[in-house]
């Protein structure tokens, strides 16, 4: 052994740094360039007010994208997140307004209800062997219908002040919603990197059969992955309801696309086993920054949409070119 392992460890440590730098480095550079350019050239961008607004806008998509990362790394996709957002928010709002529940139990019921959507996704995907795209397309539609039914397709307002005020809170100048996002990101990142569950997700995304033959319980892990995704979007749903001070039956419509975009821009591969939480957070920030400075510059929102669409494709292209070089 004579000192050889030490060498290898040092080398391994270096390679790990290099590896994550390649994975997330490019997108970080793109983000920083865009951010600095916006700070210099866009009037009103680099002000405390605007910056706190920017991260607040990024936070809801950011939280959803955390759960989406789990699903995408497992080589799946979750189209039902937007409906979970709406369902959790609506459920909590109805509990407070119609049943007079306290904030805490109402939010808890919202989160449980939303998470159940994910559990069902996991069951349909694993036990029913339905492709994730189809399974979650189905639950997305079903759950949206349920939201319409329970709300009578009407907005629910009259939420308690102490509930809606949470969205306006700041801690040391940091908006509360952003704190929620970052705390969730730290937890999610920790799970992916350091826990058995996290490593299982990568293994399953790379090769489910190899994972099974290595003694990994695929059923529990698939349930966990989709439930986690739904839990994240349910949290996002509560955050959205706080921010809007109302529960809209259409809340969360189309959010799945932004979340997928954040993951993909952040380096996640729809083929599975590739993607990190850090990448996804940067991806979400990048999209929000582009939207924010575009709006400040008075760029036509439709043009902005074209730019964001192009960004998604370019991000994947860069990734492909880099892989090809290796």
């Amino acid at each position: 052994m004579n000192g050889n392992p030490k060498n290898a460890t040092a080398q391994a440590a270096r390679t790990r740094f290099k590896g994550s730098f390649i994975a997330e480095g490019t997108i970080l550079v793109v983000f920083l360039v865009l951010f600095v350019a916006s700070a210099i050239f866009v009037r009103g961008f680099f002000t405390p007010h605007n910056l706190s607004n920017l991260v607040r806008q990024a936070s809801i998509n950011g939280v959803i994208a955390l759960g989406m990362t789990f699903v995408i790394v497992s080589a799946g996709i979750d189209l039902s997140v937007g409906s979970s957002v709406g369902f959790a928010g609506m459920l909590a709002a109805l509990m407070m307004t119609r049943f007079g529940m306290g904030i805490f139990p109402a939010v808890l019921i919202g989160l449980i209800g939303g998470t159940l959507v994910g559990l069902v996704n996991g069951i349909v995907v694993f036990d029913g062997k339905v492709p994730p795209f189809i399974a979650t397309l189905g639950s997305m539609t079903v759950v949206r219908g349920v939201i319409m039914l329970i709300s009578g397709a009407r907005m629910v307002s009259g939420l308690p002040r102490s509930f809606t005020n949470f969205a306006q809170l700041t801690v040391l100048g940091v908006p509360s919603l952003v704190l929620v996002w970052f705390s969730a990101a730290i937890v999610a990142g920790f799970i992916m990197r350091k826990t058995v569950f996290g490593r299982n997700i990568y293994a399953m995304g790379s090769n489910p059969e190899a994972a099974r033959l290595s003694g990994i319980n695929l059923r529990l892990n698939y349930y966990g992955i989709y439930a986690f995704s739904a839990l994240m979007s349910s949290i996002a749903g509560i955050m959205l309801t706080m921010r809007l001070a109302n529960a809209l039956p259409t809340a969360g419509n189309g959010y799945e696309l932004d979340a997928i975009a954040a993951c993909v821009i952040g380096g996640a591969s729809l083929n599975g086993a590739e993607g990190t939480i850090v990448g996804t957070v940067i991806g979400a920030m990048l999209m929000a920054t582009l939207r924010n400075s575009g709006t400040l510059l008075g760029i036509d929102p439709f043009v902005l949409q074209i730019l964001i669409g192009a960004l998604i494709v370019v991000a994947v292209l860069i990734d492909q070119v880099q892989k090809h070089k290796q």
């Binding site: 052994m1 050889n4 392992p5 290898a8 460890t9 080398q11 391994a12 270096r14 390679t15 790990r16 590896g19 350091k194 826990t195 058995v196 569950f197 490593r199 299982n200 990568y202 293994a203 995304g205 790379s206 090769n207 059969e209 190899a210 994972a211 099974r212 033959l213 290595s214 003694g215 990994i216 319980n217 599975g272 086993a273 590739e274």
Partner: protein, 504 residues
């Protein structure tokens, strides 16, 4: 006038960044000749073929087709020149019909619509020419791998290829299918088509080839008529070692029974299988494709559930419900298709080695990072896994090193019984020897091995005893002094004297 040398490649060199893949290699293939191309992985066989097929460009050298010097600048040029190849992975469209695949990209039309009648009749005619009974209306993916290969060949016949390259064509075929393939190759030969045949299975080279060219480390070693070489000579040309060296491993078979199987049954795959495995023993398992070998070991491991039977490991009853149960009893399973079942290719060496033990080295679900590193380093060191670092993705490693990673995974899980299912398919002689060294090291530690292999010399050379299966039945257990013929008889359902067994 047609030239007798269909293809002549002279002084071909090709360098990739950092590697000289080919150095002044020659290859001449005559009309109606089956020309074997052999060499270890990395010898330059596929680079040479890719240059011929226009996938790579040569740095130096000349290529003549029918005596004319040509520049093969792309795959379409090769196709126009009448050069075709059948690869191990079929490069046709699996979701389209056989007939459609024949006309891929140039479907005949009638009044602007696809002329299906012509498509199917032309395809049928060509298939019949080769004595193939395949309905051209079937979807390609509904055919067996062998049939798909036949379709690929028929397509080249239809395109009037002058030269067809077969790259490891039998890797996925059964014995009968291989016979059928060889029949077709003979037919191509009679029609004056030149054939280049690449295979790791040297016995096939002797069966089908007229001439053989050996490459080693990108260099041309020699071209000889097959009648003038034997297997020993060919191998020593390829690796510079002799045959006896390859299978010489130290034996460590002990007396203790570690695994006892009684009456194991899973209909319709296999029935009433009973055997014992001793400590330090290598038990070979032989049978033709479909004999149920793999199904038996999967049931022992817990990947599938048997209908009946008893499994005892170290005196303890073992009723596996899932792979986890097999793992807990100390079984390590190394499936036939490493890439599909054994490894998580996109993950690091470190992750793969620890995949099974993560729950053990974690507290409250959180993995002990130091332990993970130490374990990975230990096995990289012990098994000499050649990897730049432990965070290297395993898909960047060579076949032999990937196999070592899988072995490490099970050593790490403290396995005592290792089941290897076809561990040496698709690896070259050098990597095979490394794998055999692993067997030796494992048995020296007191581990036992069940070795499934379709390659008889390997089973006879390595195993202490050989269990032979035929159509889901245990045909017999013989010692390693048995002859190839005896084993083949058992595997074909004949008893050792040569009469077909009566089955009620």
């Amino acid at each position: 006038m047609e030239h007798v040398d269909i293809v002549k490649m002279t002084g071909i060199s090709k360098a990739f960044p950092g590697v000289k893949a080919l150095n002044r290699v020659n290859l001449t293939v005559k009309k109606g000749e089956v020309h074997g191309l052999v060499g270890e992985n990395g010898a330059g066989k596929s680079t040479l073929i890719k240059i011929l097929m226009g996938a790579y460009q040569k740095d130096e050298g000349q290529i003549f087709v029918d005596g004319q010097e040509v520049e093969i600048t792309g795959p379409s040029v090769a196709k126009q020149l009448g050069l075709g190849a059948v690869y191990q992975e079929i490069t046709l469209a699996p979701h389209l019909s056989v007939g459609e695949n024949f006309f891929l990209g140039k479907l005949p039309t009638k009044n602007g619509l696809v002329d299906w009648a012509t498509v199917n009749s032309v395809a049928r005619e060509t298939l019949e020419q080769l004595d193939l009974d395949i309905d051209p209306r079937l979807r390609l993916k509904d055919l067996t791998v062998a049939q798909q290969e036949m379709v690929a060949i028929a397509k080249m016949v239809h395109e009037r290829a002058k030269l067809v390259v077969f790259d490891e064509p039998t890797a996925l075929l059964t014995t009968e299918e291989t016979d059928q393939l060889f029949e077709i190759i003979r037919r191509l030969k009679e029609d004056g088509v030149a054939v280049i045949y690449i295979s790791h299975r040297l016995e096939e080279i002797f069966r089908i080839c007229d001439t053989v060219t050996v490459l080693k480390d990108g260099e041309w070693v020699g071209t000889l008529p097959v009648s003038e070489v034997d297997e020993d000579r060919l191998i020593s040309m390829m690796v510079g070692r002799t045959l006896e060296d390859i299978y010489s491993i130290k034996r460590h078979k002990g007396q203790n029974v570690v695994l006892e199987v009684r009456g194991l049954t899973k209909e319709p795959r296999f029935r009433d299988i009973s055997f014992e495995l001793h400590q330090g023993e290598i038990l070979g398992m032989f049978g033709l494709v479909g004999s149920g070998r793999t199904d038996v070991v999967r049931a022992i491991f817990g990947a599938t559930k048997p209908d009946a039977g008893e499994i005892t490991i170290n005196g303890k009853r073992h009723n596996p419900e899932s792979p986890q149960d097999g793992i807990n009893m100390g079984i390590g399973f190394l499936p036939e298709d490493r890439k599909l079942q054994g490894l998580a290719l996109k993950l690091s060496v470190q992750d793969n080695i620890n995949l099974v033990v993560y729950p053990q080295i974690a507290k409250l679900g959180i993995i002990d990072g130091d332990e993970k590193k130490n374990r990975a380093l230990r096995y990289i060191d012990e098994l000499r896994i050649r990897t730049p670092s432990m965070v290297q993705r395993v898909d960047r490693l060579s076949g032999g090193n990937q196999q070592k990673v899988v072995v490490s995974k099970w050593l790490n899980a403290e396995s005592e019984i290792f089941i290897f299912d076809e561990p040496t398919t698709g690896v070259d002689v050098g990597a095979k020897m490394e794998i055999y060294k692993i067997f030796e090291a494992l048995t020296a530690r007191g581990a036992s091995i069940i070795l499934i292999s379709s390659y008889l010399p390997e089973v006879l050379g390595l195993a202490d005893r050989i269990l032979v299966m035929h159509e889901g039945n245990l045909a017999g257990i013989v010692g390693n002094d048995a002859t190839e013929e005896e084993i083949m008889r058992l595997a074909s359902g004949l008893d050792r004297k040569g009469t077909k067994e009566e089955r009620v």
